[in-house]
Symmetry: C2
Subunit: 385 residues, 2 copies
């Protein structure tokens, strides 16, 4: 029985993680969870799971729950999420938080030698070096939940890292894949949120349309698989069936294919190194899928993907700055304050404006994150609608 602590259970990945856990009661037990604003899932979990530790956002909610469920330990407040990670007895931490907040709890779990299933991109994009160093020191496995990284991880099983020639992350191309940059001038938030293959949160859907998300994934892959950026490629694959592939030096390519259902990579992260039965809804019949196509990416069309390669190579303060600027820009776009293309301008200008600092400590990252947000907000003023 694998005991699991899920950070961010109320989000899309968190809820699907709970579905996977519930489908395998012999294998998994949910012992702890952190909730965001949405407490919808809480009554079901209190009834069906055997939670020992729960983190909620609001202090009032925490106090109310504490009185009602005296056997469960409740936490609230950002710093106390680390306490939950330190106090709970579990085997695997699932980090499904949607932003930077997940970094410190993840590092705390690694220091406790707990394996980490990671859906939180920011953790690796911004602090990959620190997370990987900690994992290596504590001999902890970092298991990717992203469909692309799960695919690469699966295609690497049973092979030697030094035999890898390249890995290729596939991308559907996002909601605007067939629009030229000229056609992107006046696109609306509503149009941007119509992703062709996946139903995801707003932030990540916009990040897919700009391919900032794919850029984050390139940086994640660099850390997860210990590969230089020149060995990490991106290809447009509209059907979202081949989730990524590895090409070895003997010119064999190993690819992972599955339906576009996040429960597939979530389950692999939870069950690894085993594979467990999955419900039939996620079955893939290749004789019934459309033809599988792959296209090269135009980096001029998707400048944030090109930026991510440069930022990932240079490291230092740049990943934190890029991530912060992107968060600001996307939130402005979603609030209809700026046009779509201004996201790219703001992120690129912010990275160009802030002085490059090659050496950063873990604490510096928080500073650069703040600085990135401040400068991005400043630059955004030029683009206000």
């Amino acid at each position: 029985m694998k005991k699991i602590l899920v950070l961010g259970i109320s989000g899309s990945i968190g809820r699907q993680t709970w579905q996977v856990i519930r489908q395998h009661p012999e294998e998994f037990q949910l012992v702890g969870a952190s909730f965001g604003d949405n407490l919808e899932l809480l009554p079901e979990l209190l009834k069906e799971a055997h939670l020992t530790h729960i983190w909620v956002k609001s202090n009032d909610t925490r106090l109310a729950l504490k009185v009602q469920y005296p056997k469960i330990r409740f936490y609230s407040g950002e710093e106390y999420m680390i306490d939950m990670v330190l106090d709970t007895e579990y085997d695997l931490l699932v980090n499904a938080l949607v932003n930077f907040i997940g970094l410190k709890p993840t590092l705390a779990a690694i220091e406790r030698k707990k394996n980490i299933a990671l859906a939180n991109k920011e953790t690796l994009v911004v602090a990959g070096q620190f997370v990987l160093e900690a994992c290596q020191r504590q001999q902890v496995s970092l298991l990717p939940i992203d469909s692309e990284h799960s695919a690469i991880f699966q295609c690497l099983q049973g092979n030697q890292r030094q035999d890898v020639k390249s890995i290729t992350l596939t991308t559907s191309g996002g909601s605007f894949r067939d629009k030229s940059r000229a056609e992107l001038k006046d696109v609306t938030v509503k149009e941007a949120l119509q992703h062709p293959n996946w139903s995801m949160g707003c932030k990540i859907t916009i990040d897919s349309a700009t391919m900032m998300n794919k850029g984050f994934e390139v940086i994640e892959a660099h850390w997860l698989f210990g590969l230089p950026f020149k060995q990490i490629k991106v290809a447009i694959h509209r059907q979202a069936i081949v989730h990524s592939f590895v090409t070895y030096q003997d010119n064999c390519t190993i690819a992972q294919l599955a339906t576009a259902d996040m429960r597939v990579p979530i389950q692999f992260a939870l069950s690894w190194p085993k594979r467990l039965e999955a419900p039939s809804h996620s079955e893939l019949d290749l004789t019934k899928t459309p033809p599988l196509t792959f296209e090269a990416v135009d980096y001029d069309r998707f400048p944030l993907l090109a930026l991510a390669y440069r930022v990932g190579e240079k490291k230092g303060n740049l990943p934190a700055v890029m991530n912060a600027a992107n968060e600001v820009a996307v939130s402005y776009f979603l609030a209809e304050k700026i046009p779509f293309l201004a996201i790219e301008d703001i992120v690129i200008k912010t990275c160009d404006t802030i002085a490059y600092s090659p050496e950063v400590s873990l604490q510096d990252i928080y500073t650069w994150d703040g600085e990135g947000r401040r400068v991005a907000a400043e630059i955004a003023k030029e683009f206000l609608l």
Copy 2:
């Protein structure tokens, strides 16, 4: 340095095996080889390789070579191929013989605890049970050279056999994949030999057109991977890029892709568990390939594939009989003695005519092979042009 003995070096697979060995002089050394009628490669090997043992078909050739190369041990005669396998010092036996002759030498090598790289289908189709029992007893690895089985073997690396839901062997569909059975009535030998993707020998090209070859591969897969026939599927994949795939119980499919170059699977069998660099001619760029399609197989259109499933399930004398009947029928077709569709009729009728015998010894197989040939030749008389 891996020392390699190649049975059947003068055939297509044998010659390509030599190319792979020569490309990796730090890794592989060819120490012995058997030649068929074609001795074209012999001078090159005598010059470039450091052969210690050589088998040739003709006794006269053997005696002539023995005088000329006193340091090399020469053999001739079918029984003496076993002697070569017993006398030579090597780490890996490559069985690239094109028919039934390869069985006894392979079994002799297994008894010496030598790993086997197997390109010879008949060995497993007809005597899979005996070969597998010997491999298990002697803890010998059986490494497939067929592109499909190499693909499956690669997709199984790092995974547990009990997690496999199904394996799917891909097939280009052969030279007549778009012809109906009615249209096959008058096809010529020349038309049949035009395979859409691979340049192969005559026998195997005809076996591809009837899908008897795919049927053999289904039976091979049954033995190689220890899977029941209901877990072994076939799909038409015209582009011959996805060489086969494995679907796991978590609904993840792992596929192997490569250019249609036999040196790729040959090299994997030689280098396993490592992967070595391959020359750039075999590089695959998925952004430049046609869309990848998969189609279900119509078993009424390809009755020999359906027959192979039944024969593989029933075992006993049937695999030997089916293989023998097919050899006779294909040789008659290639000699323009019978029409194309008669191949299927002869093989099916031979299997129906000969009484089913569930228990067979290794020696019985040779008897049933002879009986299959005799009955097939008898049945073929009905179909003579």
